[in-house]
Symmetry: C2
């Protein structure tokens, strides 16, 4: 059981624990090079690791961050985000607590309290899908950064969100530069934040290219009976593709919607990408790569989001310690890379 304590190291090196601590924390000017050498050797020989609990008690820094989210950890989106955050944290020798709160605010508050009782150094507050919202009350006064969440103007925290607009712009540009002009957009319900942004990106590019036709935008009605995204994609596509002046390309709100587009194309005997080009959004694992042909889509920069959030949080914590530097704040847009696969081709001029 017996872990090696600072005292053991000190004894082995023939100095006091004070000196040992000083050396190991590199507080220069209070020990000689010889002593330092001895201490360090003893430490490595014994395999000493400071007890972070005790250290934290004294310094009130636990080298531990918390990643709190509503649902994120239980969605297929989570993977890269967690990994990005963990990697960044680990660079600075921090570890991550991860908790899912679901939508229950009381539960969330409990978890946050429990995290504070463990003296975490800061919080990453993440949302599964982009939304507006505030930082939970319980995190007040602590370093926090947001992820995929739009904070209120007056919030002192920084937040990282995917740049949906430019992602949509890239997607549509991809189609335009392949030669398409009649491009449809099948989108979600209009209260969905990401929907608005992707639509804005679409509209912007199309208008600039002089080929915006609002008639080719299909928005899922609020009172839609089914809001299964692939079903909606199929229904909308069927309708669009049956028109005599059917679009030659479809920009789908997301990859699940694109699944529906594929189904519709199949039903109508339209080949992708020969007769119809398709671009999705999200680059969802198991979707984008399993469709045939594989789907060209826009990836959500989850790994970057995680990395940036953790790095920034660490900076905020450090700034807190030095209680000098102003801390970062504001919403930061992170670019969404285009992932080219095989669902886009030139329009079929027949």
């Amino acid at each position: 059981m017996g872990r090696v304590r600072l005292q053991d190291v000190a004894e082995a090196a023939g100095v006091s624990t004070a000196t040992a601590s000083l050396v190991l924390n590199d507080r220069r000017g209070r020990f000689s090079a010889t002593t330092a050498e001895a201490v360090r050797r003893a430490a490595t020989e014994l395999g000493y690791r400071p007890d972070l609990g005790a250290k934290g008690l004294r310094t009130s820094r636990t080298q531990t961050l918390a990643l709190v989210s509503d649902e994120i950890l239980t969605t297929p989106y989570a993977n890269q985000m967690i990994q990005g955050a963990q990697d960044a944290a680990w660079q600075s020798e921090h570890l991550l607590f991860m908790v899912n709160t679901g939508s229950d605010k009381a539960y969330e508050a409990e978890l946050v309290e429990s995290l504070r009782a463990r003296r975490v150094d800061g919080f990453i507050y993440a949302s599964m899908i982009r939304r507006r919202g505030g930082i939970p009350e319980g995190m007040r006064g602590m370093p926090v950064v947001g992820m995929d969440i739009e904070l209120p103007e007056d919030s002192a925290a920084a937040s990282f969100v995917p740049d949906e607009v430019s992602g949509a712009v890239a997607a549509v540009s991809e189609l335009i530069s392949a030669g398409h002009r009649r491009i449809a957009h099948i989108t979600d319900q209009d209260w969905v934040p990401a929907q608005q942004l992707r639509l804005r990106g679409f509209t912007g590019v199309m208008r600039d290219a002089g080929c915006l036709d609002l008639d080719l935008v299909r928005r899922l009605p609020r009172d839609a009976a089914s809001n299964d995204q692939s079903d909606w994609g199929e229904r909308a596509s069927l309708e669009l593709l049956r028109r005599t002046d059917r679009p030659t390309a479809i920009f789908a709100y997301n990859d699940r919607t694109a699944i529906g587009v594929y189904r519709a194309a199949r039903e109508l005997g339209l080949r992708i990408p020969e007769d119809l080009s398709v671009v999705g959004f999200d680059d969802q694992i198991l979707v984008a790569t399993e469709l045939r042909p594989q789907l060209t889509t826009v990836a959500l920069p989850h790994r970057d989001l995680g990395r940036l959030a953790a790095q920034t949080l660490l900076q905020v914590v450090a700034a807190d310690d030095a209680d000098g530097a102003e801390r970062p704040s504001g919403t930061v847009l992170v670019p969404c890379p285009m992932v080219q696969r095989n669902s886009v081709g030139p329009p079929n001029r027949s």
Copy 2:
């Protein structure tokens, strides 16, 4: 900043910290009911929460568990597992550290050390896909339970793994009771542990039903050029379904393989489930529900795995404290529930 300390509570209640601690930890026999009442009231009024770092320093229990895995956290499988573990841990007021080690053993060792420096109470060691393996050296001497990993015989730890065999049995029985007799099985490479078990389940049921035809088992060759699972599913299905005595049902190794089966059926103009019944395995999100018709499949009991692992780990920790009770060990098979959707029907006797 100032958190409420035990001392504050004690002062407010007019007692010593010793008494306050005794009351709050319910060590009966050393205080009167009146005092207890006063202390408790003071505690709730001030919103007291013990500092778990300090507490842990003294008691060497941090109410914190670690979930260490190779890749699990970054796969779509992870979700439910994490949630299950978190829920179970939370029941006992524990929180979870989660780390991904990737396949780098040195990194793994570092992380484990770091976790021990934080004095976690125990480890859940999880694998992404079922495999054989030992507990990392660094966890020796600590409470550990495994997940989706087959431990060596002599291991003192318990491990929870899905009962692949009975899952396969259920899947095939589903087909048999729908009336099928010519059932094919498209499986993975033969060194994959889960492959062997699912195949065993298939073979067992088929033999019992007197309709085992090994010719209908298609195993992905070891030296296969592409080991993309859906491609393989498609290739194998095409071949099987082109036979004059084609099978009326296919049990696919997993849902991704089933995607290929669907594609093949479509190419050949076979309808599911009218002309061909299909059962998958894994119940992968975004696959099983997005295929049309939706796929009948066997779910991996990830949530249960997580829950059981955490609960058991907590028991082991408790047993350690009471240093009495023998700790659970051995590999525990957790049942895989059948998920009925729409890809199974009676055989088409035409």
